[in-house]
């Protein structure tokens, strides 16, 4: 099974991702704390506003010129406001509109009421972070918007990687279904080796005409290293890590997904199924080897036997011992030691 289908993916997630861990990644702030504790770079938090009283007491004017405000348990980027400058009476949104402090307070109220959060929530917290700006190496490829990187990991083993590049058509969104370009990344070199727009393979970015194949990504080693730590930090055995490369702060993990999509296979032109099978086989073999070594070590302690390192040498030794002992009538025609 080279391709990983929905059925097998769901079975894999049921086996490897505990319910608690899945719930955990829906909360952005708590996820960030857990990741930071494991040494994963995450965006800093400017403020976490948990209720109306805190919102009333919060000094919004103290916020920097550029920030992002989002619901802590938001879905699909809903309810996110990005501002990148101060204007008279408030801030300037990335879309160009003016965000007054009054409008910002109203937005926080909506977030706190859970209106912009995942279903089943009737209260939430508002998370404010500095605005992330795309690294120049990424920014030169796209017309505008923030490209991100998705790495699928099985435990701490990275399986497949792609970067999602916004286009004019996607409205700056790094979402393949909305028209962003998906570009497969080679793990060893950190360069793009294949790019896909919708169903079609492309070789340059449709909006900027920048050549994509062979383009190198900045901080690739750090990116992979950060992604590899997420699984252990969050307790997810199978995880899709979303990262961005900030122009000043470098690699940042934005989100971890307990149900990562399968479209990455079409982008890479390869299946996840065979890679998962390979990793799991290696893990099983390693576990078996460790078990064997463990039992032999246990034996050597209890029964005074050493683990057999070289079976042929051991056999030769045994043969010599027997040949030494057995003499006369039992002389062997050929020496075992030969």
């Amino acid at each position: 099974m080279a391709i990983l289908g929905m059925n097998r993916r769901n079975a894999l997630i049921a086996r490897l991702n505990p319910r608690e861990a899945i719930k955990g990644v829906n909360q952005k702030f708590e996820t960030k704390q857990r990741l930071a504790a494991a040494g994963v770079p995450v965006p800093p938090t400017l403020a976490l506003i948990g209720d109306e009283a805190k919102s009333a007491a919060f000094d919004y004017a103290s916020l920097p010129d550029a920030f992002a405000i989002k619901p802590n348990r938001g879905r699909r980027g809903e309810g996110v406001i990005l501002v990148d400058g101060r204007v008279k009476g408030g801030w300037r949104k990335l879309s160009g509109e003016v965000l007054t402090e009054k409008a910002l307070r109203a937005h926080v109220t909506r977030i706190l009421a859970g209106e912009l959060s995942l279903e089943g929530g009737n209260s939430d917290a508002a998370l404010i972070e500095p605005l992330i700006r795309a690294h120049p190496d990424f920014a030169r490829m796209v017309p505008f918007g923030l490209p991100d990187i998705r790495i699928i990991c099985l435990g701490d083993v990275p399986l497949m990687a792609m970067t999602r590049l916004p286009t004019q058509e996607s409205g700056g969104r790094a979402n393949l279904h909305q028209g962003a370009v998906g570009a497969a990344i080679d793990f060893r070199s950190g360069t793009i080796f294949r790019a896909v727009l919708g169903q079609d393979e492309v070789f340059e970015h449709p909006s900027t005409n920048v050549a994509l194949i062979g383009a190198g990504l900045p901080f690739w080693r750090e990116t992979v290293a950060a992604a590899r730590r997420c699984s252990g930090a969050l307790g997810l055995g199978y995880v899709g890590v979303d990262l961005v490369i900030d122009a000043t702060r470098g690699v940042q993990v934005l989100e971890c997904n307990a149900y990562p999509g399968l479209e990455i296979q079409n982008v890479n032109g390869a299946g996840l199924g065979s890679r998962i099978a390979l990793v799991e086989r290696l893990q099983r073999e390693r576990a078996r080897a460790a078990r064997r070594a463990g039992t032999e070590a246990a034996h050597s302690r209890t029964a005074g036997m050493r683990p057999v390192k070289d079976p042929r040498a051991a056999l030769r030794d045994a043969g010599r011992r027997i040949a030494d002992r057995v003499t006369g009538a039992f002389l062997l025609p050929v020496s075992l030691a030969a």
């Binding site: 099974m1 080279a2 391709i3 289908g5 929905m6 059925n7 097998r8 079975a11 980027g77 809903e78 309810g79 996110v80 406001i81 990005l82 949104k93 990335l94 879309s95 937005h107 505008f144 918007g145 923030l146 916004p166 409205g171 700056g172 969104r173 294949r194 896909v196 169903q199 393979e201 399968l262 296979q265 079409n266 890479n268 032109g269 390869a270 299946g271 065979s274």
Partner: protein, 255 residues
Amino acid sequence: MRSDDLTLPGDIALQRAGYALAAALAATFGAIVWALFDRSDNIVTGTVIAMIGDPSRPWNLPGMHLLLVMPVGASVVVFVRSVLGWKTFGLFTPMLLALAYLQSGPIAGPVISTAAIMIGMLAVPFLKLLSLSRVGFLGTLIAIVVSALGAMALEFDQPALVSAFPVVVTALIVERWWNDYEADGPKKAVRMTIATLGVALAIQLLVAAPPVVRLAAEVPLALPLASIALMIVLGRYQGLRLSELARFRAAQQGA
């Protein structure tokens, strides 16, 4: 870049176009319903009865049969979802819809429930304007669907056409339809509607087929027990779904 602008002018235009299309569809469908079930003596009714028999004839299945074939319908749904990979509204909506069909009759069932769904769908945009809570919304929708079904039964003078069972199912379908329409756009929502109705029709035809009816009458437990075995097998299927063969063609070529 993510933005908080969720209602772009294009979205509103799209909604209007979708609404106009849905209204036109519902009107056409209303005409079909009228032609099928109007009892007054006219040439249309006469032709219809001559061609397909009495459209309001019931299935005449024993009450026990409906219960016994439910697992068969469930097996079909499991097969469709995990082997074919077609998306339908809700998990077992097609099965419930098929049971609703069975209560009304081979032609009346699908036609009447589809009419009720369309009426409910046309009501939703207006209900949305009132910004009700979800229970309030669903409750109102149920009442609207009942009014529509009741009006049809009175107009065509056939109380048997309408039973209580399909009403909640219809309201739920209508709600899901609008959610999916808003989230994924008209194309996907229409595709899912067709899949849902198609699977429901297939289940209806399967479980009302004479051999199945005979089997259920002679060995009542055979169908549910066989369905258990079948669903356990299907539930453990981990291979690719039929729809994924097309979806992952690019990945397959490289692999």
